[in-house]
């Protein structure tokens, strides 16, 4: 079909609008990146836009030379890896049995689980529970209490529903039990959903700070985002800084920018590769009961 001239113009208007969107998404990142690589002098004089002025790596040297940052990077990476594995394990063993239509009590289990999506006890009851469990201010509090997300469990369950039942039935005829079927048939076919949920859980842990803010006091257990929160907010208002060693405002500005990049780059390196998976996953989440 030959397109009219008018609709060609329309195509380019739309392409241009999308270009604006790209700019709005990328420019803030570029500005912060440029700041992190600029000299303090250029920053004070407001000369940094989207390209570094007085290019140097000093801010990154300070950040990577400071054990506070490197420790929290390693610690958060550790929490993220352990947390993601635990979450994937819990999500799988929760979603898989619920796909058996013959399972007695399936409705009951579903109701018990889904109810928690609509009504939750709230922050303070959670705090008191963790206090009674003696989990406050321990590393466990950053992994266990939110390790299973109902939303993610539904995504996995929807994906499992998409696996043909005939596969399971023929394996059952060969005498395979549910666990064997899960390990040898379902999991190998579930790479897309596992990759998606791994991304969701990992990003959640990497980016989370409020649980640590509420439940953790010991500094060495702080995940990177809480450390960042404290740094950004303590260095914000007054430019003569409280962090040891940096006295000029420009330096603290570039260090702030460098810490932001430092905590962002790991995610930016990962998510584009998983795009085709997480689009499927995010769509599955919309499928209802």
């Amino acid at each position: 079909m030959v397109k009219s001239k008018k609709s060609h113009v329309g195509d380019f208007v739309i392409a241009f609008l999308c270009f604006l969107l790209i700019l709005i998404c990328l420019l803030p990142m570029l500005n912060v990146l440029a700041r992190s690589l600029s000299s303090s002098e250029a920053l004070i004089k407001n000369r940094v836009w989207l390209w570094p002025v007085g290019f140097n790596f000093n801010a990154y040297k300070v950040v990577f030379g400071d054990s506070k940052y490197t420790w929290s990077l390693i610690w958060t990476a550790f929490l993220t890896v352990v947390g993601t594995f635990l979450s994937l394990f819990m999500t799988t063993i929760c979603a898989y049995p619920l796909t058996y239509e013959k399972l007695k009590g399936r409705r009951f289990f579903n109701t018990v689980i889904l109810f928690t999506m609509y009504f939750n006890a709230g922050t303070i009851p959670m705090y008191l529970l963790l206090k009674d469990l003696k989990m406050l201010d321990t590393p466990y509090v950053l992994i266990v209490p939110y390790c299973l997300s109902v939303f993610n469990m539904i995504i996995m369950r929807s994906f499992f529903y998409g696996i043909p039942e005939s596969l399971r039935e023929s394996a059952e005829l060969d005498g395979a039990g549910p666990v064997t079927i899960l390990v040898h048939i379902y999991l190998p076919m579930s790479t897309p959903v596992i990759a998606t949920l791994a991304l969701f859980y990992a990003v959640g842990r990497w980016n989370g700070y409020s649980d640590a803010l509420m439940f953790v006091k010991t500094r060495k257990y702080y995940p990177i985002q809480l450390l960042l929160y404290n740094i950004i907010n303590s260095m914000m208002s007054i430019d003569t800084t409280t962090v040891e060693g940096f006295t000029t405002p420009g330096v603290s500005e570039s260090i702030k920018a460098a810490t932001i990049m430092f905590a962002t780059i790991p995610i930016l390196l990962v998510y584009p590769w998983l795009q085709k998976y997480f689009i499927t996953g995010a769509t599955l989440g919309a499928i209802k009961e």
């Binding site: 803030p28 922050t123 989370g208 960042l228 929160y229 932001i260 905590a263």
Partner: protein
Amino acid sequence: MQKSQGKRQRAINYIKRYWTLYLLLLLPMAYFIIFKYIPMHYILIAFKKYSIVKSVWEMPWAGNHGFEYFIKAFQNKDFINAVRNTLMLNALDLIFGFPAPIILALLLNELPFPRYKKFTQTVAYMPHFLSWVIIAGMAKQLFAPTSGLVNNLLNRLGFESIPFMNDPTWWVVTYIFIGIWQSVGWNTIIYLAAITGINPELYEAAEMDGAGRFRKMWHITLPGIRPTIITLLILSLGRILGSDFDRPFALSNHMVENVSDVISIFVYRNGIQGLQFSLSTAVGLFQSVVCVIFLFAANALAKKFGERGVW
């Protein structure tokens, strides 16, 4: 007799075959009971005088038939303020933030260059993967009154600097804008998926009839994704008094607390920092109950208008 034996045999076979499924469910169910249901009994604290040495059951009931702390909350200016802010920010999010991904999905759907489309999507998803701490950090640098990129640009164009993050009114504008920035790309995923489900023959038939781009959008695409829109609208309405913590807390600063303090921040300040457990549990319970009521109401309303509800 024989019948019941057959039944028992079937039950034994069933258990033999499927007991491992229950074993698998053991851990997840324990998780839900411990971390979702047991906390619910602490809700009683909202109706009791909290005491650190007593168990929940032993604490004495609060005054006014147990509703002392609810009354106190509604007499508390900060709480009224938090409710107002929560409603205001959520309503603005709904008005401006809800249509944004629908519009973007329509645009992306019309974009004829597949590789460019994919690139746009990849970039637009990016903000969703940034933490609110990082977004707030970037915003504070970009919108800083004297050194920020945005105000520098405004100054060059001959405008005065705008206190985006430090003036209460401007802060609300910035908060809503950043919210859209963070979520618009990600939220298109679900609409784009719904659009792919629309029968292409409808478009072909409309083209035969000479329908242009906008008429096809209006008469085919939008009605095609209507169930998705309604479902998401119900869920958003259900959250109208719900409050996220990470976003307002990260973006807030002491100059704008008057508009940025939402219920979740009130609970954090008074409960975890202020140790007023009864008061803040009462506030949390009030919020949860209102959320459930709103969700049911929105769902019932949608059904009344002949739409498919959430359940």
